[in-house]
């Protein structure tokens, strides 16, 4: 089937979509957007997190057909013209990226958290990132990165 959706601000028409396939598969394999990662395909790890109509969701659990006519923002859409956002810079600066597999999902989740709550407490950060698993960092550097991004955004505003 064909689906038409807006991805990172651009209207996309995608043909040959299988009725049972996930939005994650369509993004990675049909739209050339491999930023969102596939690590579990069952909603457990959050590495496939994207915005769907403004809300972070696991794209592995959205049927591609359900995204027809909707608006999707992936991690690729969060850096304007190759410039990294404060959230992305903070992850680099704090060593919150090791193998990097969890990073795109964590960037989207952190971006959403800081939009809603610019100065989150530590428990609020943990709660907001509870759906994103990382096998490498032990999370402390990720916590550092979120705190740094929060401060950086505060200074910038």
């Amino acid at each position: 089937m064909r689906i038409t959706l807006t991805v990172n601000g651009t209207r996309r028409e995608v043909d040959g979509v299988w009725e049972g396939e996930s939005l994650l598969y369509a993004l990675r394999e049909r739209m050339g957007l491999p930023g969102s990662k596939n690590a579990c395909e069952q909603g457990e790890c959050g590495s496939c997190t994207v915005y769907l109509d403004g809300l972070p969701v696991c794209s592995c659990l959205v049927a591609a057909g359900q995204a027809d006519g909707r608006e999707v923002t992936t991690v690729e859409g969060l850096s304007a013209d190759g410039e990294l956002r404060p959230v992305q810079q903070a992850f680099l600066a704090c060593g919150a990226v090791q193998c990097g597999f969890c990073t795109p999902g964590l960037i989207v989740s952190t971006h959403d958290l800081l939009e809603r709550n610019p100065q989150p407490s530590d428990p609020e950060i943990r709660e907001a990132l509870a759906g994103n698993l990382c096998r490498c960092t032990g999370y402390e550097k990720i916590m550092d990165a979120v705190r740094l991004a929060s401060r950086a955004q505060e200074r910038a505003s």
């Binding site: 069952q42 909603g43 809300l55 696991c58 659990l61 049927a63 989740s109 959403d112 509870a130």
Partner: protein, 290 residues
């Protein structure tokens, strides 16, 4: 596979009648897992996310009518006061991403004994509104909705339209045991409600029987003891040992199994502890509300 995407409730019911094998999909947090892992290949997916009638909630003749496709995130943000037990349960479900998609209708559709909506819906005496193109609307009391392990009372041509819940007349509680504070399927769960208007107690047991179920005898016992001691009116302290005895009786209503998440013995033990705590917390809230 076909992909059916009706935009009205009438079209959705017509599609289900024409193709009873079509698998409804709302948040997809159960359905997509099954498809991704090749556990299910339905002839068609019936996407319900475009049906506006399912996405809203509203007061309806003295009850809250919660559309089947309202997500957990919205239950938490919009219904914490109107559906307190359900909102407490919703806060424990999955992760933010799962709560942004997962729905109460989907939880009822899946009818897992571990579904977290069920204990609070049982405790609050909720009613499930189901509909078909051929026979129209029918209301099923939630306790009769669960018919077996992961099966429910829907006929092949029926869909879940909404859940109907009376606004709370007293405090509600929800407790859940799991290995961490997020992303856990309950080892066991318990929902509790005080209904002072009819001097009754509501209960719901999760993950400790083939279906979600009530602890009827325990609820009657507690309500009767409160009545006998005039406590519904006086709002006095709970007599020593009453909450504990209630916990024991709740445990007696369960029929759990051993599985990877926990042993039957632990489920029974944790249920009696949760029931004691939930009753105590709710009663303390009731006393404070005086």
């Amino acid at each position: 596979m076909e992909f059916l995407a009706p935009t009205t409730w009438a079209d959705a019911l017509a599609a289900k009648a024409a193709c009873p094998g079509a698998l409804p999909v709302t948040g997809g947090t159960d359905v997509l897992v099954e498809i991704n892992f090749d556990r299910r290949r339905p002839p068609a997916l019936l996407d319900l996310t475009r049906v506006a009638e399912l996405r809203d909630w509203a007061p309806d003749r003295g009850r809250i009518r919660l559309g089947a496709a309202v997500t957990y995130s919205r239950v938490i943000d919009e219904l914490a006061t109107a559906l307190p037990g359900l909102a407490m349960a919703a806060r424990t479900i999955g992760s933010p991403q799962i709560r942004n998609r997962g729905t109460v209708g989907g939880n009822l559709g899946a009818a897992s004994p571990a579904g977290d909506s069920h204990p609070p819906l049982l405790a609050a005496d909720a009613v499930v509104e189901v509909a078909s193109a051929a026979r129209g609307v029918r209301e099923v009391p939630v306790a009769q909705f669960y018919t077996g392990v992961k099966t429910n009372a829907l006929a092949p041509d029926e869909l879940i339209a909404a859940v109907l819940v009376a606004p709370p007349r007293g405090p509600q509680q929800f407790c859940k045991i799991g290995t961490r504070n997020a992303m856990v399927i309950a080892v066991s769960a318990f929902g509790f409600a005080l209904h002072p208007d009819r001097r009754a107690v509501g209960t719901g047991i999760g993950s400790a029987a083939p279906t979600p179920r009530r602890a009827e005898a325990a609820a009657e016992f507690l309500a009767g003891e409160l009545d006998a001691a005039g406590l519904w009116e006086s709002r006095g302290e709970l007599p020593d040992g009453l909450a504990r005895e209630f916990g024991h009786r709740v445990r007696a209503a369960a029929a759990p199994i051993d599985d990877v998440r926990g042993s039957a013995a632990y489920r029974l033990h944790s249920l009696s502890v949760m029931a004691r705590r939930a009753a105590t917390w709710a009663w303390n809230d009731y006393r404070r509300a005086a």
